[in-house]
């Protein structure tokens, strides 16, 4: 038992280090991932320790990073691409959705593309435009990709290793405003869950909140506040956005009868819409209230002085819970 205190960012670094040690075909590539260690220092010291053939600083070209990584995957490598910020992934969108996602289907299973595409995402850090977006729905809508996001250091440590080891391409969203959140965990214990499973982050009986990534800690705070007010909220951390572990969500909703889905991304056609539709279909007779969504507004990501209004906070979550309980 080796309990270590690590921030989410440091846990990702430790997880990537393990992945590099475990398989010599793992390579990291992206802008500034080498000597700088990435703009968030997630790849800090990795180039120093593994060399510039394993941790590759690339030209400033996102389609190039993913397209070249895809070619390396065809040669037997397991590249981990870093996209510097959420809003910079769009130039690589075609390579991700048209090439990486489809190669296994296109070749009837003859070719795999074991890429991990890391994207720091979401707001709340006071950044300028294109540095705070939540583009997960674009990728979740594309068959052939797995899309995951950890919400805490232990999951970050294990899920990055599970993603690198997966034979399918994984889009790995990192909740950047949680990079500095710390937790104790045993780095030598195995993961508690397979990559695709959701986690019940807090048990409760009155209503369920489903969240993922950066909003999970927000949902847990909301549940603590609600507990003080006499309401018992269950919080589910999805972890995997594609596939979604609906079994865990359905089981919770059958118990609580009420569901609020929360995410930072714009609400319209976001993951909340899919979850609401699915739960309405599967749990219609167990629901005591309509499924409610709390998300970012349907506006472009706003200037940072406005982001606290845009991002769901505990109060907006509790407001939705109150509406659900009142129904």
């Amino acid at each position: 038992m080796t309990t270590t205190t690590l921030s989410l960012g440091a846990a990702l670094n430790a997880g990537l280090r393990r992945a590099l040690e475990h398989d010599r075909k793992v390579v990291i590539m992206g802008e500034d991932v080498g000597r700088l260690g990435g703009v968030f220092r997630i790849t800090d010291t990795l180039q120093k320790d593994f060399g510039d053939n394993r941790v590759i600083d690339t030209p400033l070209a996102e389609s190039g990073i993913v397209g070249a990584a895809f070619g390396m995957a065809l040669r037997g490598y397991r590249p981990v691409c870093e996209i510097q910020f959420d809003g910079f992934v769009y130039p690589a969108f075609d390579q991700i959705v048209s090439q990486v996602a489809k190669i296994h289907y296109r070749t009837q299973g003859r070719v795999t593309a074991p890429l991990t595409i890391r994207i720091p995402y979401g707001g709340g850090i006071g950044a300028v435009e294109h540095h705070s977006e939540s583009p997960e729905a674009y990728f979740v809508h594309t068959a052939g990709l797995r899309v995951v996001t950890p919400s805490n250091p232990a999951d970050a440590f294990h899920m990055i290793q599970q993603s690198v080891a997966a034979d399918d391409p994984v889009v790995f969203f990192e909740p950047k405003r949680r990079y500095w959140d710390k937790a104790d965990f045993d780095v030598d214990a195995g993961p508690d869950l397979p990559l695709h499973r959701a986690r019940v982050a807090r048990e409760g009986t009155d209503a369920t909140i489903v969240a993922y990534g950066s909003v999970v800690p927000t949902a847990l705070s909301a549940a603590s506040i609600a507990a003080d007010e006499g309401h018992s909220l269950e919080v589910i951390d999805l972890r995997s956005l594609s596939p979604i572990d609906f079994d865990t969500v359905e089981e919770s909703v059958r118990k609580t009868g009420r569901l609020v889905v929360a995410h930072e991304a714009s609400t319209f056609l976001g993951l909340g819409a899919e979850i609401a539709a699915r739960i309405s279909e599967k749990c219609f007779y167990q629901l005591d209230a309509p499924v409610l969504r709390v998300g970012g507004f349907d506006v472009p990501y706003p200037p940072s002085k406005l982001e606290r209004h845009h991002l769901p906070d505990a109060d907006r979550l509790l407001d939705a819970v109150d509406r659900s309980l009142a129904a």
Binding site: G64, A68, D94, Q99, H104, D168
Partner: protein, 365 residues
């Protein structure tokens, strides 16, 4: 390798006469009469396959086909420069490249018939399935070459694309990446003068090969209808790659004699007179004239070539018409390499739905 874009390399004139170019003939010095005849056979087989596929499309057996008519020498010459462990990234018109790499003509049409998105196992012949988003494969070839470079493998990777693809950002990024990492890759542009209806001057006001200069990449132009010249320059480029001298850009100047695809109508956008000019530069006629001048064109040889071409075409035809339709539930296969609960659920539900019809059909029969 020239650093300055010079007049296109040519080793055989349209009238079949050899061109005196010691710098390039030295690269094909080993091509003796038998190999010249083999190259001629490849050209004829490529055209015969293509004609057969167009006929199959007209007969309703293929949904679409992208004819290579006129581009046989560019494809055969470059593909025959490759070694078995080299790796080719192709686009959708490179049927002759696929054939030269050993793809079974009997499976070549799977994609065009709609049976599958791809036909063959890329690793069995070291040639990818065709890229349809033009230019994307330039990056894939670059990444593959970077991997080969890291492996210490002395191989070349070649990316095939057209003049239109050179306008795509991905190709520009591929040129940049390959130079930054000294990747052992050959960029092989078949400038066939048209991107569907758009003439090449709409893609670039300067020769396409000049694009490489901005990246510091050596480039040259070659007469793409001269199989021997294409073989020579591709051998030179792949050798540079294998030696660790980095990427090369080749612009093979050729002409798409037919439509872009069987759905296209080139009479809307180009003059018949232009096509006539290029007919006089036909790659097969040129090679035939060379063989004739050099006394290599016996009746027996021609009959043998025709027999081979007909056999390949017959194989392509039988493989096409006999290709079984995929089963409905194949729809759900291979989306992921491991289980995916939502797809498993959809498969199960659709299977049950289809099974319902089976009962009705039984009752009605």
């Amino acid at each position: 390798m020239v650093d300055k874009i010079a007049y296109p390399v040519q080793l055989i004139q349209p009238d079949g006469l050899r061109v005196f170019r010691p710098d390039y003939t030295s690269l094909v010095r080993d091509i003796r009469p038998d190999q010249l005849r083999d190259l001629y056979e490849d050209l004829v087989v490529a055209r015969r396959m293509d004609v057969e596929a167009v006929a199959l499309q007209r007969q309703g057996e293929l949904g679409l086909w992208a004819p290579l008519l006129g581009q046989e020498a560019a494809q055969v010459g470059s593909a025959r420069a490759l070694r078995p462990d080299d790796y080719a990234f192709i686009s959708y018109r490179e049927h002759a490249v696929a054939y030269c790499r050993g793809v079974d003509p009997g499976v070549m049409t799977r994609m065009w018939r709609g049976c599958a998105h791809s036909a063959w196992d890329p690793s069995s012949v070291n040639v990818t399935n065709p890229a349809i988003v033009v230019g994307s494969q330039g990056l894939h070839a670059t990444g593959y070459a970077m991997g080969a470079h890291l492996d210490g493998a002395e191989i070349a990777t070649i990316a095939y694309f057209g003049d239109g693809a050179t306008s795509q950002g991905d190709l520009a990024e591929a040129l940049g990446f390959s130079m930054s990492f000294n990747a052992p890759v050959v960029f092989f542009c078949q400038n066939n003068q048209f991107a569907i209806s758009e003439p090449v001057h709409l893609q670039s006001p300067v020769p396409i090969a000049q694009r490489a200069a901005g990246y510091g990449m050596p480039a040259l132009r070659v007469d793409g209808n001269d199989v021997l010249a294409v073989l020579a320059v591709t051998r030179q480029a792949t050798q540079r790659a294998r030696e660790g001298s980095g990427p090369t850009f080749i612009e093979a100047i050729t002409y798409r004699m037919g439509p872009h695809t069987t759905s296209d109508d080139p009479t809307r956008y180009r003059a018949a007179a232009e096509t006539e000019i290029w007919k006089a530069r036909d790659p097969i006629d040129r090679m035939r004239r060379l063989l004739d001048r050099e006394g290599l064109l016996g009746e027996e040889f021609l009959a043998r070539v025709q027999a081979t071409a007909d056999a390949v075409a017959a194989r392509l035809r039988s493989g096409t018409v006999e290709a079984p339709d995929p089963a409905p539930l194949d729809l759900f296969d291979h989306v992921y390499s491991t289980d995916h609960p939502l797809i498993d659920e959809e498969r199960e539900q659709y299977a049950a739905y289809l099974a319902g019809f089976a009962g009705i059909e039984e009752a009605l029969s």
